[in-house]
Amino acid sequence: MGQWEIGGIRMNESRMPAIGIPRAMLYYRYGALWEHFLQALGVSVQLSPPSSRGILETGTRLAPDESCLSLKMFMGHVDMLIGRCERILIPRYSNYGYTELFCTRYEGLYDQARNIFRSSGQRFITCNIDAQNDSPEAKAFELFGVELGFSARESRRAWQEASKVLKQKQKAEEQAQKELAAKPGMKVLIAGHSYILSDPYLGKPILDCLASSGAITLRADALESETARKACAKFSPTCRWIVSEEIVGGVLHWKEKADGIVLVSAFPCGPDSMTNELLIRRFKGIPILPLVLDTQSGMAGVETRIESFLDIIRFQKGEMV
């Protein structure tokens, strides 16, 4: 598989890694798929460093003021890769079909980044998942592989392998959580986009804070996609953003095991602004804490709210009379 070209550059002669992946946004949901796909084809990959305050500050400067925290973080990650790889990969997740959609932000991400970084001369590459326009996931990855210089057959096989890896990863997460949920003790269900919860700068402090207060943390997104989406379709039939369906479905699935729910969202997340409101309105009898993260740093406010939330749960359970 030695020699291959993208955009006329023979990659094995180039000193830079071929593909750079920003470690933000959908990377936390589908990153395993992309990485294994590229790995199976033998393409060198460069990840941007883990999120930090500096990266968020750069992103905040670059992105439009009114965009969401996650997009700002994403643009910061793209900036870290400029000039450090041949192409930056920003897959375009548009839809899996007429009623299986993604947030418009993921849809525009590739073109938005191309416009923001236009003067840098950096080249970008996408994998266009848009079933409504004749490019379902399988075909999208096939075309992506072909664009990288591999045969359709090689690309297809790489995608099949990578999909299996992604599925197994989700299954393992679900299994691990099942064991966790069976343990005794106070359990808090935390729901939010994986790119918030798994982000070392945004979500990790919240998870740490919960852990240090002695609560067992369950994650809504640790559930197989099909199970979650089926549950969500019953609960909210017109919710059609796949990632939101997974989160809502996860909440429905794990809620029985939990003593309280923390809904984490980024300011001003479009889908969350509506699905979280619906959850709060339809769930009665279980304490819910909505947390909205913005570019203001400092954890003191969040810690206070989580501590008092845990006190409420303890009070409800009769542990604090």
């Binding site: 079909g97 947030c103 418009t104 525009g108 073109d111 848009d130 969350d272 602004s273």
Partner: protein
């Protein structure tokens, strides 16, 4: 089943005349027009909505509340390409939590990509009436929307240069006629009367007037109340105001796919909802040598925020100024006027320096 439903759709510019026509001529039902949008509508909506949702959600919720107060027993809600598709379900929940009793027809539920499901929706709204009559009413309402948009376009392009000040009178009469129309003849007749009246007015327009193009999100740009009558304000300064974004152009006349090809340089793929149409329109205005572009969006509108970097590049390439306006539920006239005047002064100065 009730004898006569009292159907309402939240206020949306003047397009409610088309819904009224469909409901009254196509279905055997009565149409309740919610009161015109006001501060009260916005307050009612904002108070009962989640904070971070976009402004059209709040405004339409407020209008639904006012429709129910006005006696409606059925609320109809449309689907859409962005968050709009999810408006209905959450709004229904909020209205029920507020204690209202009503029937809610959420067309999003039937928007599955399968034409059969849309027919099902028609049967839900209209169980007994013949499909032929309904289809005819839909067609005639589409004609109404086209006429309404054509007259509105003419109005804002010219009303700033009318020395007799009769333009607003003609326009108002035309809108009233649209709401009163009972059949296709009356629709056509009202259109002819208004067009003729416009033609008879001698305009005092310079050969090369200042031309400004308006783009923006589906709701805010087409609803004069929501954009604080931006177009009228610009026209009153002596500007030829152009807006291609309207229902007739975007839904009835189509041409969406080829637009993407024309804007490839700026956006290879659709960036969601109104983005492709907006970028295409902005490029179109720039190529025709317009003096400025105004982007109108509601606070929190995702696709419109995403295209801001694209518009910035377009502005650089074509050397055309772009004014970005964001409307939330507490926008006041004064702030908008200041920004518009400053933008107008800048545009006028540029025109003098390089005519």
């Amino acid at each position: 089943m009730k004898q006569h439903r009292k159907v309402a759709l939240p206020r949306y510019g003047e397009y409610n005349c088309a819904l009224k026509y469909i409901v009254e001529q196509g279905f055997e039902a009565q149409c309740i027009l919610p009161p015109p949008l006001s501060r009260r509508t916005e307050d009612l909506g904002a108070r009962n909505s989640p904070d971070l949702v976009c402004t059209p959600f709040k405004t339409t919720l407020g209008s639904m509340i006012e429709a129910l107060e006005a006696g409606a027993d059925t609320i109809l809600m449309v689907p859409g390409a962005c968050r709009l598709n999810y408006f209905g379900e959450l709004q229904e929940q909020i209205l029920r939590d507020m204690g209202f009793t009503f029937e809610f027809i959420n067309l999003s539920l039937y928007n599955t990509g399968n034409a059969k499901d849309l027919l099902k929706a028609l049967r839900v709204v209209n169980p007994r009436r013949s499909m032929v009559k309904t289809a005819r009413a839909l067609y005639e309402a589409a004609k109404m929307i086209e006429h309404l948009d054509d007259i509105t376009t003419l109005y804002y392009e010219n009303c700033g240069f009318d020395p007799t000040k009769t333009y607003p009178k003609v326009y108002k009469q035309f809108i009233a006629d649209m709401y009163a129309a009972q059949n296709l003849n009356e629709i056509h007749e009202a259109f002819r009367v208004a067009s003729r009246a416009f033609e008879e007015i001698t305009l005092n327009k310079p050969s090369d007037p200042i031309r400004i193009g308006i783009i923006g999100d589906y709701y805010t740009v087409m609803d004069p109340f929501s954009n604080l009558e931006l177009e009228q304000k610009l026209a009153d300064m002596g500007v030829e105001v152009h807006r291609l974004m309207n229902l007739a152009n975007d839904m009835l006349r189509g041409g969406g796919k080829n637009k993407q090809a024309k804007i490839r340089e700026f956006a290879e793929y659709s960036m969601g909802a109104s983005s492709t149409a907006d970028i295409w329109q902005a490029q179109n205005f720039a190529e025709r040598g317009f003096d400025g572009i105004v982007q109108v969006k509601s606070a929190g509108c995702m696709p419109e925020t995403d295209i801001m970097p694209v518009l910035a590049n377009l502005s650089r390439d074509y050397k055309i100024p772009v004014l970005y306006l964001t409307y939330d539920s507490q926008s006041s006239d004064v702030g908008l006027m200041t920004r518009l005047e400053a933008f107008y002064d800048m545009v006028e100065m540029r025109k003098k320096v390089n005519p």
